[in-house]
Symmetry: C2
Subunit: 202 residues, 2 copies
């Protein structure tokens, strides 16, 4: 697809847009486009329809920041969930990851990122104020900070803890330690030190 | 996205369909879906439109087997191309790869695969008959067999050569040798032997 045109602009446009999808690059986008075109009825057409439907229906939950076709979202309106516990995450993908673990049955709060002064991300760019409002409204007994174990994540966790300080709510964070199935030989020193420090009775 | 539902079925359907795109798996499809939803206006909406347009307009060229929005395709109707040379390829992706090299300015013929008796692919499942017809119609002086250097590709090349035997056309194939930029140390013995055998004056 260089100087000489070998196909209509519609195909090149499809390739260009596919190349912007995370996980695909310019080369794999070309392969993907060709596969989609070959499976027009079975894959390309349903995928286009599913995308159109997502464009029309998907919105951000105004309570927790989850993405869903309903607002408030399914998680916020699910009566079987424990409304007294809010798990704070950086991104919707983290919410999904926690749900896959099926370990908790709580509600969530998506911050929308981490504090990062260098990138110009301050507290007002995240949904921290909304979280404080949710907790201040009452009924919440525990806030679990499930942010990433990165410098930015931990900085954000500290800031959120400060903001929640005046409210009668227990603030906890995820445990550090050896990943299940993990081998000590491949772990960094920080994780091993944290796992030793938080050792439990056998 | 396990037993408990955390989002509407529209989002899960989008993820399921994205997971069928080559280059994406179940995990990266989830990440891709989230990214697309977040970039609704900039990416999801244009991509859905581009796919719909491809569904409507893209077709297989009835002459050469290329995919395009026109039939005959741009390659077949381009008056600046040398119609006397036909490059035979297995798949449209090979046609695109050859065009990227910009080495030739010929027309193409897409076989649609290789002969593979074990998989039940016989000569009638490929477009070999059509190629013979194109050559028999006259005006073609050379057929370049640009099939893959695999057992199936070479078997198919031999069969195509046999079928073209009665016609006054020169049948050639791609040279074997050291890839440009390739290191001998990493090449297989077959390639080195072929490169030695086809050595040229320096």
């Amino acid at each position: 697809m260089s100087t000489k045109r070998i196909a209509g602009p519609e195909i090149e446009r499809l390739i260009q847009l596919l190349a912007k999808v995370p996980g695909l690059g310019p080369r794999s986008a070309r392969r993907a486009a060709l596969h989609l075109i070959k499976k027009k009825e079975q894959l390309l057409s349903p995928l286009a329809a599913a995308m159109n439907e997502a464009v029309d229906k998907v919105r951000i939950c105004s309570t927790c920041g989850n993405v869903d076709t309903a607002d408030p979202c399914m998680v916020c309106t699910d009566p079987r969930r424990d409304g007294a516990t809010i798990i704070v995450v950086e991104d919707v993908s983290d919410l999904w990851a926690l749900e896959r673990s099926t370990a908790m049955n709580a509600r969530y709060h998506v911050l929308g990122g981490t504090l990062s002064p260098l990138d110009g991300v301050g507290p007002d760019d995240l949904t921290i104020g909304k979280l404080v409002d949710r907790v201040a409204a009452g009924g919440v007994t525990e806030v679990i900070l499930a942010v990433n174990a990165t410098v930015e994540g931990q900085t954000t966790a500290h800031y959120v803890t400060d903001r929640l300080a005046g409210l009668s709510v227990r603030v906890t964070r995820l445990a550090h330690g050896v990943p299940v199935g993990g081998e000590l030989d491949y772990l960094d020193e920080g994780t091993i030190a944290a796992a030793l420090k938080s050792r439990t009775a056998f």
